[in-house]
Amino acid sequence: MPLFKNFFRGNTLYYPGCLTKFVAKDLAENYRRILQKIGLDFIELPDLEVCCGSPALAAGYSADFKNLAEKNLKVFKEHAVAKIITNCPACFKIFSVDYQKVLDSNWDIKAEHIVQTMVNSKAIGNWKLEIGNSRRSRVTYHDPCHLGRLMGIYDEPRQVLKGLGIKTKEMERNKSYALCCGGGGGVKANWPELANKIAKERIGLAKDIGAECLVTNCPLCYLQLKENSEEIEVKEMSQLIKE
């Protein structure tokens, strides 16, 4: 129990985010396993935590957003959370940037995207992969907007893929120029046709470089691109790693 450690600095919370928790549930399983492989102690609060508020903020419900932030702060503080690890780039941005704006100095919890946790683990080089040898050099990486452009995390995902033994080929629009999957900002829910057309453009860029597999690490990008993938295989990063 972490509480009895000499230098207890608080709990680390794994926060999968609503999309992973309720829709892409296999990803949550994968990431729990990955955190265990890394050897990290973490807690989960599935019945107590609420939505981070990203969809509310994006849709213009700022009072609701603040309300969610306050609820989460209370729950997190009650459980001595000092750090949050999430695999959702939108939640990651909300915890890293937006909570401070509505909670001021009351928000002092560090947030980390799980790719940052993974990049610091020396263990990953030994992990077995779910992707055949021949495909390992035909992989491309899609930068999720919330992780790349909005949070500046471009190198870590590429380093993790490299560490896993995967050689990535870069698409025409990558890193800060990455083309959105089309799903963000509520567009997937409100304008699905538009969202799908954008996703198909993204898939087209992967095809242009002869990629057979597109890897990303945002649950929304993953679901959205997978739905529009045509002959390209779309994988969420955690799905590359064998149990």
């Binding site: 609420v50 939505c51 959105c180 829910a189």
Partner: protein, 393 residues
């Protein structure tokens, strides 16, 4: 709206632009340039009243007739008076003029658009929404067909032939026109109108007709000509990926000469009269969360990388609920804005305004109700079930 039935991908249309721009970026401190532009626009908007006062005094000293108006309607009325008696008017591309409903204001007169892209888009019966590349979604066949149908001329299906045709056609019109109508990229408190271009049409439109009428907005005023050159530089880099444009016009009043017995004659080889219709528009945006909109220099870079423009060929516009909710909040616009306008933030503020007015979509209302009742955007989820609608993120 463009190409409803013939939509093609714009994805690679801006590849050359991006490559050119990156070469220019490599020689510059891009972040410093962006910060400088942001600061210049911010300060100028903050002091807009004082700058305007100085600008008007100095423009008048240079012999420019200044007409200050409060809205586009009044601008239209002034323009109507100024163009009284003229039957052919040539104009250059201008976002401010686009807001005027020229066809109505100048009813009965022939108005010729002289920007190649706008001229062709208009000929093909389409309204280009891209500031810099209005014909970006026109294909060459549509252009050739439009020239044949509207101007009764056969033109080969290649860009060179089309441009030569446009050059000859427009030259005749510009020479015959009594009035040349342009916008401005910047105005200075020192009394200069600054306009940049690559085609050369603006130089001709502003100099060949006897009268040059400039219509622009007070938001374009900056203190000095050096400041105006920062706008020119950024417009070129972010607009077309060039370090500098082909032409920059600095217009300080009508043309003049004192070559004959040192007697100053106004109206030499360029325009004989210069009028400026200065619109006090957007005053209601100052000191609001929308103020940064006024920092826009209309380079169009935000659109070049916008995933929604790519598909819809329409701008995300904070004024319309049906457009603002289409933004994916991907952040490309802010990163590609030379003035560092935080359009994502503006989108969220606009959405909040529409949500408060009850103009949010049913989907969003459902999403927020779910969050309020169940703490997640999907609603009540029974164990073992997976929500079908992705109300995220």
């Amino acid at each position: 709206m463009l190409l409803k039935d013939n939509k093609k991908s714009l994805l690679h249309v801006f590849d050359d632009y991006k490559a050119k721009r990156e070469k220019v970026f490599a020689r510059l401190d891009v972040e410093k340039l962006r910060d400088d532009l942001h600061q210049l626009k911010k300060e100028s908007i903050k002091n807009i009243k004082e700058l305007k006062k100085q600008a008007i005094v100095n423009l008048k000293n240079f012999g420019v007739n200044v007409f200050e108006v409060n809205n586009y309607e009044e601008a239209g009325e002034v323009l109507k008076k100024l163009t009284d008696g003229a039957d052919l008017i040539v104009k250059s591309k201008s976002n401010v003029i686009n807001n005027l409903n020229l066809k109505k204001v100048l009813a009965g007169k022939e108005i010729i658009e002289t920007d190649t892209g706008d001229f062709l888009a208009e000929l093909a019966g389409q309204k280009g929404e891209h500031h810099i590349s209005p014909a970006v979604s026109l294909d060459i066949r549509t252009i050739v067909r439009a020239i044949k149908e509207k101007l009764n001329s056969e033109v080969e299906e290649n860009p060179q032939a089309i441009v030569s045709f446009v050059r000859e056609y427009l030259r005749q019109k510009i020479i015959q026109a009594q009035i040349g109508l342009t916008g401005a990229n910047a105005l200075t408190t020192e009394g200069q109108v600054v306009i940049l271009e690559n085609e050369g049409n603006i130089s001709l439109v502003s100099r060949l007709p006897a009268r040059h009428v400039v219509i622009t907005s007070t938001k374009k005023i900056v203190p000095t000509i050096e400041d105006a050159m920062l706008i020119v530089k950024c417009s070129a880099i972010w607009g077309t990926g060039q370090a500098w444009p082909v032409y920059v016009s600095i217009i300080a009043g009508p043309s003049k000469t004192a070559d004959i017995e040192k007697k100053l004659i106004t109206g030499a080889q360029g325009a004989k009269e210069v009028d400026l219709i200065l619109i006090n528009d957007h005053q209601n945006l100052i000191n609001t969360p929308f103020e940064e909109i006024l920092y826009c220099i209309s380079c169009g870079a935000c659109l070049n990388f916008c995933p929604v423009f790519l598909i819809e060929h329409e701008k995300i516009d904070y004024k319309f609920a049906n457009r603002i909710f289409k933004c994916t909040l991907c952040g490309s616009c802010k990163l590609n804005c030379p003035a560092k306008i935080d359009l994502g933030k503006i989108t969220k503020v606009a959405r909040a305004k529409f949500a408060q007015e009850g103009k949010a979509s049913l989907t969003n209302e459902k999403m927020i109700e779910n969050i309020r009742h169940y703490g997640n955007p999907f609603g009540k989820i029974d164990s073992g079930e997976t929500p079908k609608e992705l109300f995220c993120c």
